[in-house]
């Protein structure tokens, strides 16, 4: 009896009431913060759907970007984006996978690896506009003109660190017992990596590449002064090449209603692509885990 009495007394004390109140306030704020964060996602996606879906029609995919005041589509921009993205992946992925392999397999603990790891992390979050300046200096300025190649190289520079990072992480998840088993039957290291480790980490490495594609398909800044833009359909890699993000940038800031409408449609297309890719990438890894 006595203990119960003292317990209720303690529970009613102002100190305890204060602590409980603070706890409740903090919990409430945490909930509010989460709703606040999710609210932006809903708001942005909602506006995007509302503004973009009206302009969505077949002509978006079959006609080129129009001159001011006329109707048209985004065909040349979409094709330009696809071509440059594919090239960037083709250039960047082998380098990224090989470098990631070195970090995880050959030089797990050596000095070079820790330096490369650090530098790679810096590149991973380096401002993309700086990458654009870099490619401008090494390709556009010497060549004397903007080109699709320069755009693809700029995107490849962004692909490399993403792929390096995921490749290393995924190879690190492969159990060492597999490697030892391969070594014990006399399989040389290169064969062990290619036939055992790569195969075990396959889904993860593909995820990394998908994430890299998702990242570059929305990139605008590095393309502004490498690939520039082109009003016409062009598959000439040595000429300026249009891309979806740059067209959106140009059209959104223009005073013409048709252009702005196309910009919203393009924005919707990009967002659906990027979010779709990252969800696909995520489901690949989680399916593997379970």
């Amino acid at each position: 009896m006595a203990t119960t009495a003292s317990k209720t007394a303690a529970l009613d004390s102002p100190l305890y009431a204060g602590r409980r109140r603070r706890n409740a306030i903090a919990k409430g704020m945490a909930l509010a913060a989460t709703i606040f964060g999710l609210g932006w996602l809903v708001l942005i996606l909602g506006v995007l759907l509302y503004k973009g879906i009206g302009g969505l029609s077949l002509s978006v995919f079959t006609e080129n970007t129009p001159p001011p005041g006329a109707a048209g589509g985004l065909l040349n921009a979409i094709m330009g984006s696809i071509v440059m993205t594919v090239l960037a992946v083709v250039i960047g992925t082998p380098i990224g996978v090989l470098a990631g392999t070195y970090l995880a397999e050959y030089g797990r603990h050596d000095k070079l690896s820790s330096v490369v790891r650090f530098i790679n992390d810096i590149l991973l979050s380096a401002p993309s506009i700086v990458i654009g300046l870099f490619v401008y200096e090494i390709l556009v300025a010497p060549m004397g003109h903007f080109s699709g190649w320069a755009g693809a190289v700029a995107l490849a520079v962004i692909v490399i660190p993403v792929v390096v990072r995921t490749t290393e992480d995924m190879l690190n998840l492969v159990p060492d017992t597999l490697r030892e088993a391969a070594a014990s039957i006399g399989l040389p290291r290169a064969h062990m990596i290619v036939r055992i480790a790569y195969r075990a980490a396959q889904a993860g490495i593909v995820t990394g590449i998908l994430l890299a594609v998702a990242r570059i398909s929305g990139e605008t800044a590095p393309l502004l002064f490498t690939a520039l833009n082109n009003q016409f359909f062009s598959m000439d890699m040595n000429a300026p090449m249009p891309s979806l993000p740059v067209v959106i940038f140009q059209f959104a800031l223009s005073p013409y209603a048709e252009w702005q409408k196309l910009a919203w449609t393009g924005a919707l297309l990009i967002t659906v692509t990027v979010l779709g890719l990252s969800i696909l990438a995520r489901s690949l890894t989680s399916a593997r885990k379970s």
């Binding site: 932006w40 470098a99 070195y102 380096a126 300046l133 520079v157």
Partner: protein, 338 residues
């Protein structure tokens, strides 16, 4: 590689009949295996050296491109507010100022909100909702920055201009310092708007890293704190946060790195005015926005070079911030590995 394997088995089969021939062909196979091994090792090593070369290349190219501007203006470049393409007088003060101010606004908002979201996700959220909410927050990070830009320009800025900014201006009109910070006509676009949009973009970074480090806190520590009667908030505030301090700061730094270098979202809503202004509602510019807006139109070597010099400064600032972030996160990993 498939042929290599077949050779090995052939060698093994032949082994019984012709010992001398075996050792010769076996040596050949082994030589070839060793050769492919060396080549592959060399390739991977070369690729990782290429990553190093890439970063050095970026630095060298930027310094090379910035050299004319830096030699013309010297250190004064950093502290000069003027930006005049006609007289060819350029200074980086306004863009640097804008970059720092917008990033500061972003961090002031994103850090507490991000921490609270992470607190919610790790301590309060029902298990079923944890993953979907986490993914939703991360999707926020996946939205391309140009989408934030177009949304900011057409939806968010007009909203701020109509409702939020007049309210701030009226409310703080007579408060000494705040009246200067929130002064002037509500343009809608400007440093305030850019800072808010950056906050939304940085939020998922702060949240996901904080959540990951909070999850890494040993349950025993939390249970002990609950055992002595701590409330959920007290456990978070006095056990989880101090334990994960280093990692959380690392996460902030990563977010800050993104805010500093963010280009497209800011370019849409900053107003591109090369002025240092005390009011947050005034249009300004950031380093990345200046480059994005002006680079293709820059006439003359000095103009272009000044913009590259801006890029060099940006790279330098973000390099330091990111290096600190990585160092902090690495320290945490080492701590956890003990």
């Amino acid at each position: 590689m498939a042929s290599g394997e077949r050779d090995v088995s052939e060698v093994a089969l032949k082994g019984a009949s012709a010992p001398a021939a075996v050792s010769a062909s076996r040596a050949a196979v082994l030589r070839r295996l060793r050769l492919t091994d060396t080549i592959f090792h060399g390739l991977t090593r070369g690729a990782s050296l290429a990553v190093l070369a890439l970063l050095s290349g970026v630095i060298i190219a930027l310094i090379y491109g910035a050299a004319p501007a830096l030699s013309t203006f010297g250190f004064g470049f950093l502290f000069d507010e003027s930006w005049n393409p006609v007289t060819e007088r350029f200074g980086a003060l306004a863009p640097i100022f804008g970059t720092l101010v917008t990033s500061f606004i972003a961090m002031v908002i994103a850090v507490p909100v991000g921490l609270m979201v992470a607190f919610f996700l790790t301590e309060l959220c029902p298990k079923v909702l944890r993953r979907p909410i986490g993914i939703a927050i991360e999707l926020l990070a996946g939205i391309p920055s140009i989408i934030y830009g177009i949304w900011g320009l057409f939806v968010f800025a007009p909203f701020l201009q109509q409702y939020v900014q007049p309210f701030f201006i009226d409310t703080f009109a007579n408060v000494p310092i705040l009246s200067t910070l929130f002064a002037g006509p509500p343009y809608g676009i400007g440093m305030f708007t850019a800072g808010l949009i950056l906050a939304i973009m940085v939020l998922p970074f702060v949240t996901s890293i904080s959540r990951d480090v909070f999850d890494a806190v040993p349950p025993v520590l939390k249970e002990a704190a609950y055992g002595v009667g701590c409330t959920t908030w007290e456990v978070f505030r006095y056990v989880v946060l101090p334990f994960t301090r280093v990692g959380v700061i690392g996460g902030f730094m990563l977010g800050l790195g993104r805010a500093l270098g963010e280009t497209m979202a800011v370019t849409f809503v900053i107003g591109n005015a090369h002025h240092v202004s005390a009011s947050l509602f005034a249009p300004g510019t950031t380093i990345s926005a200046s480059i994005a807006n002006e680079f293709t139109e820059a006439v003359g070597d000095l103009y272009t070079s000044s913009l590259v010099a801006l890029g060099l400064i940006l790279f330098f600032i973000t390099f330091i911030v990111l290096a600190i972030a990585r160092y902090m996160l690495m320290r945490l990993q080492r701590q956890g590995g003990k």
